[in-house]
């Protein structure tokens, strides 16, 4: 059974009302359970759980410590291109956004690689838009080949690909792939992705299945917060995670919870999520799943990130540039979204240490990949 079949058994409105109908009793019950299931998830994500936030935070902190210890993984994104043939209403790279387009060539990639390495990073996340003519699988494959020897771990966040393409890239040493559904609301998905390959909801929905079959080491899931009701979207993320963990059991999983950020051409979030609610979401994911990595980007404020360290987060980016060439080649080119925490990796490292956390720069090794 693929996730499409699982997904089609659920109805958005039913899930929504079942979440909003949860009571304090349901929340207390969910807090008491040791193995929490998807119903418990609904209770903890519901408005009824708001008064229990500190208790959730404490359990989340404890569970995270038990599984991950006092560590925080650090990585940096590397934007290879801002070319994109899709229209996404919330993204600065959208086709209808008249910005100057740039795709890094080999020499420029080398300069960016050096700049990122000089900051101390060993884990890198390659990012592109979706432009199959110029930044298709061949381009990505070449880039991975060039970049792989310089980093302990290479992840990627690009358009969904076919299984064979993933297999090809894994052969080159690709370690993990992040692919967010953006929203699990079918009708709204169409509104936000009116044109381009990305408008195919189900092709995107089944991407993790293709990744699992291709044998990826790790994959990242998530929903973009702000497009639709975040509680319902997060429920589907949890459902997706549960399904994938059982089916592709050799793969590791991570979750992200990006909140819509201002960008050039801006869309106002339909649904606003306040900080308190983001804390609730982070803790709920942790209470639901003790093993999953929870990743927080520089979209969030300094203040929030400082405190998130103890809430259940295990992975952070730092010093990020979200424009191609942003580190060394062309610092002024247009970014995908504005980052909020602009502090250097050095500063983040100090803050982690002050909080009793060990910053982890390297948590993988090329030698561990037998496929290469």
């Amino acid at each position: 059974m693929s996730f499409k079949e699982v997904f089609d058994q659920y109805h958005w409105d039913d899930i929504k009302s079942s979440i909003y109908n949860k009571t304090a009793e349901d929340v207390e019950r969910a807090l008491r359970h040791s193995d929490r299931d998807i119903e418990d998830f609904k209770a903890l994500i519901s408005p009824a759980a708001a008064p229990y936030l500190e208790q959730m935070a404490q359990i989340s902190h404890e569970l995270t410590l038990q599984r991950f210890g006092n560590t925080m993984q650090l990585y940096a994104p590397l934007y290879l291109s801002n070319e994109c043939q899709n229209i996404c209403t919330y993204c600065g790279f959208s086709l209808d956004n008249k910005i100057r387009r740039k795709t890094l060539n080999d020499i420029e990639i080398a300069r960016e690689v050096k700049a990122v390495k000089d900051m101390g990073f060993q884990h890198i996340l390659l990012v592109t838009g979706e432009a199959n003519q110029t930044v298709g699988v061949d381009y990505i494959e070449r880039a991975i080949k060039q970049i792989r020897p310089h980093f302990a771990n290479v992840s990627m966040e690009v358009q969904p690909l076919d299984q064979e393409d993933y297999e090809r890239l894994i052969q080159q040493g690709l370690h993990s792939v992040l692919v967010y559904q953006e929203t699990y609301h079918k009708a709204d998905y169409k509104i936000h992705h009116p044109k381009g390959k990305k408008s195919n909801f189900y092709y995107r929905l089944e991407t993790p299945d293709r990744l699992g079959k291709a044998g990826i080491h790790k994959m990242g899931l998530g929903a973009l917060i702000g497009l639709e009701d975040w509680r319902v979207d997060s429920f589907f993320v949890a459902l997706h995670l549960d399904y994938l963990e059982r089916k592709y059991w050799k793969t590791k999983y991570s979750l992200s919870f990006p909140r819509l950020r201002p960008f050039s051409g801006g869309l106002e979030p339909k649904v606003e999520m306040v900080d308190r609610e983001l804390v609730q979401l982070i803790c709920t994911y942790r209470l639901f799943n003790q093993e999953v990595e929870l990743s927080l980007s520089t979209r969030e404020t300094n203040q929030f990130r400082n405190h998130a360290i103890k809430l259940g987060i295990t992975t952070m980016s730092a010093g990020s540039k979200t424009n191609p060439g942003g580190y060394a080649v062309e610092p002024q080119s247009l970014e995908q979204f504005e980052i909020s925490d602009e502090r250097s990796p050095e500063v983040i490292k100090t803050i982690l240490e002050q909080n009793g956390y060990e910053p982890v720069w390297k948590d993988w090794d090329l030698a561990l990949e037998s496929a290469i």
Partner: protein
């Protein structure tokens, strides 16, 4: 209580039983009837499939009971595949409980041969239920190979030592996409109840019923314990939690933002 399915077959009872070690076939029959079990294993090596009056088989001729031939006695995947095919012919069932133990002392299941045999038998269209050690990774490998269920042991066969492997059974149950039937080692109804409480789909009990002084009464005791354990699981057991301190050290920052 919820019913459950293995392959396409639906079961009301979560107690599976075996046919070995009873004093006589009549007592076996009475105990199995009292157990209300719907799946009963029978060792291929024990029955004479060519004999229409075979003592065990004639006593199991009951519409409620599904026969589950087991391959007990084989030592390799090759022998197991052969035995399963023989059972399919003779007993007209494509269900098979795979038991491969080259070790005659503790009858420990061979994981490597079991995986190989499962792959082959699933390809041949068998509904395979492998008896295995409580090994979570092996369970996932068996799922990939097309197994219909997994049957991890609670402790060594016939030992009546109970759920020595409970921490691993927990992991297996949490990760499983196929039914988990705890097999071997269950010595008392309380062991069976515990297995059900942690979410096992069913238990297979043989020795503890067969060798008790009153197998019929013991069969009823197991039936009741399994129902109780399952009900508790469905009602969800609570675990103790620490209560949060009155202050909010982790979330107080939100008030200042």
């Amino acid at each position: 209580m919820e019913t459950f399915k293995i392959a396409d077959k639906e079961f009301n009872s979560r107690l599976f039983t075996g046919t070995g070690k009873f004093k006589n076939s009549q007592l076996m029959k009475e105990a199995l009837e009292a157990s209300e079990s719907e799946l009963v294993t029978v060792a291929l090596k024990r029955v004479d499939v060519s004999d229409a009056d075979d003592q065990i088989l004639t006593h199991l001729n009951h519409s409620r009971i599904n026969l589950l031939p087991n391959t007990s006695g084989v030592r390799t995947a090759k022998e197991a595949v052969f035995a399963a095919n023989l059972a399919r012919e003779a007993l007209e069932t494509n269900w098979v409980k795979l038991e491969i133990h080259p070790d005659p002392k503790y009858l420990m299941p061979d994981p490597i041969e079991t995986l190989k045999a499962t792959e082959e038998l699933a390809k041949q269209g068998f509904i395979v239920l492998p008896y295995i050690h409580a090994d979570p990774v092996l369970c996932k490998r068996l799922e990939d190979a097309g197994t219909a269920a997994v049957m991890p042991l609670g402790s060594p066969i016939g030992s009546n030592k109970g759920l020595k492997t409970i921490d691993f059974l927990d992991i297996i149950i949490e990760q499983a996409n196929v039914p988990v039937i705890v097999d071997a080692g269950i010595g008392a109804p309380s062991d069976a109840a515990r297995a059900m409480e942690i979410g096992a789909d069913a238990c297979l009990v043989n020795t503890a019923i067969a060798v008790s002084d009153n197998p019929v009464q013991m069969a009823i005791a197991f039936k009741t314990a399994i129902e109780a354990g399952r009900m508790a699981y469905e009602a969800k057991l609570a675990s103790p939690v620490k209560h949060a301190a009155a202050s909010s050290p982790l979330t107080a920052f939100l008030d200042e933002l």
